[in-house]
Symmetry: C2
Subunit: 329 residues, 2 copies
């Protein structure tokens, strides 16, 4: 029998403009019981990611907790691969306890890294950086990689992979602290604050004096415009995100497609969902980089499921630093 011991954050109002806490309410739901093949997870960490913003434009999600990636421990299992106490990763929801199909859960090894890392540097955000560059970046040592939102959960991994692969790496971030972290801790060759740069095109050109061969794009908007003008012949634009655009109407524009011809540019949008099966290969490679100190990461952990709405809003204001997770408790 289910007992009423599962705090859930329900989505109750589609945001007009910037997302705020009034789009959500906290309720006390039942702890679910597993059917055959299912498992119940006590969520320890909940991942907050920019891609979730689109779920708030979908009225079909009203009245339910938003879906989100979680890491937690099995508290009930009717799937042969899982036992009580096992640490697992799964697509859960914004709630303390999630019911999922065992087939969709995956064990995580908390001896290699803390459980929360499986939502970030060893999770889908890391895989997003790795798979985007692998399949669409065609990285070549000696070339220049530019990463926007470079201190973010995805961008910071993308930039460090660029360094590991022998590229010159430049990027931008939204505070001086973040820029300092890119330069001093992650080994970026150049970085600037895109919020305070007086001329974005000039800032990009100075950071990439020989132009950009690969743009790993997370931001869109004015930052991307500046990057686009700096692309080199044969350049690849890997479109992972456009966080500056998620809370606006798409800009009507007549594009300058002539540059695609003269510079033989390729622009490709992708989603990590198409590469989910590569997570094991990624974790194996990334765990080695972590061990060797080649891959560093930073997390912002907020406490309590009730903190999720306000923390989520900060993803879009730029106040967050590194991977954002909720410590459900």
């Amino acid at each position: 029998m289910s007992s009423p011991d599962n705090s859930q954050i329900r989505f109750i109002k589609r945001p007009e403009g910037p997302v705020g806490a009034d789009s959500f309410e906290i309720i006390s739901g039942p702890v679910p019981e597993p059917a055959t093949g299912q498992v119940v997870i006590r969520n320890r960490y909940l991942s907050l990611d920019p891609y979730m913003r689109s779920a708030l434009n979908n009225v079909e999600n009203l009245g339910r907790p938003i879906e989100g990636r979680v890491v937690g421990q099995i508290i009930a299992s009717r799937h042969p691969d899982f036992r009580e106490g096992d640490w697992v990763f799964a697509m859960g929801r914004w709630e303390q306890v999630s019911l999922v199909d065992g087939a969709a859960a995956r064990h995580v090894n908390t001896n290699i890294a803390p459980a929360s890392a499986y939502l970030g540097v060893l999770g889908f955000t890391g895989l997003t950086a790795w798979s985007g560059l692998k399949h669409y970046g065609a990285l070549r040592a000696g070339e220049t990689l530019f990463v926007s939102a470079a201190s973010g959960a995805v961008g910071s991994v993308a930039g460090q992979i660029g360094k590991i692969r022998g590229l010159r790496v430049a990027g931008c971030a939204g505070t001086d602290d973040k820029v300092a972290w890119l330069l001093d801790e992650l080994g970026f060759d150049a970085a600037f604050n895109h919020r305070t740069a007086p001329d974005l095109a000039q800032a990009v050109a100075r950071a990439c004096p020989e132009g950009i061969d690969v743009d790993y794009e997370n931001v869109g908007g004015m930052v991307f415009d500046a990057v686009f003008g700096t692309m080199r012949y044969g350049g690849r634009i890997v479109v992972c995100g456009a966080i500056s655009q998620y809370e606006r109407e798409p800009r009507p524009c007549v594009p300058n497609i002539g540059d695609f011809i003269t510079k033989r540019l390729t622009m490709r949008g992708f989603s990590v969902r198409d590469h989910a099966a590569e997570i094991y290969e990624y974790i194996e490679e990334a765990a080695g980089w972590l061990r060797d100190g080649k891959l560093k990461y930073r997390e912002t952990v907020v406490a309590g499921i009730e903190s999720a709405p306000a923390a989520f809003a900060r993803l879009f204001s730029g106040e967050n630093f590194g991977k954002l997770v909720v410590d459900v408790g």
Copy 2:
């Protein structure tokens, strides 16, 4: 010895805005003598193509005849592969007689098609359509191909290749006569006049009710905006040209990049110059299509080298129909 019997169109003034006849003057130049390895061609046909517009932005070209593709007969040869009277294709200039390296000339077979066809349907314009779709289009039977400037020298071949490959093909052109030709002669499944359509997005959507899988883009600007919104998941945008933009300042902007992610779009600019070596393979395939009546073409022939400047200007006003060549005489 050179005799003064070679009318040349010299480029004398960079156009401000639309190109006009005042950017050129006609002069009487000498007939050149070949050095070792060179040949002299009496040009019969001169190709006028939109890509040439960029040459008029380059001040280094001032005082000289613009380069252009020609078909003509050898009148003097110091290259072992060519003899007087041979019909050849080469990159010549806007003049009656051109001196070129024999290594850069190529025989054409006027038994397969008239000499002028080697500038169009059996030349680089045809190859532009064929190589762009082959390398960047990833055509699959049953999908929808959209072609802008579809009645043009390149677009008309692209659309017909789409039909030959089993795709549904739609396109737009700038006059009702051109639209009728696409539908009645070339077998397009749908076509509309982009100059008179009251709502371009609606016109594209009506022509492609299931969306567009492959866009063969020749126009850019407002037409491309409408096409972009109609792209399907996994769509490919093959950027061949942007004729609507060649006489304007480039707008530093690319379309709503969020769509690249959600629809997994790929956009690739290319130039036929990267595929010049494939001309033999193309001619062999296209000659078969011509023979079987699967590939049709239309030429506009203007008489006399002195007609080149005014005819060239008509490429951008849309008054031209099909492949534009100058019959040098």
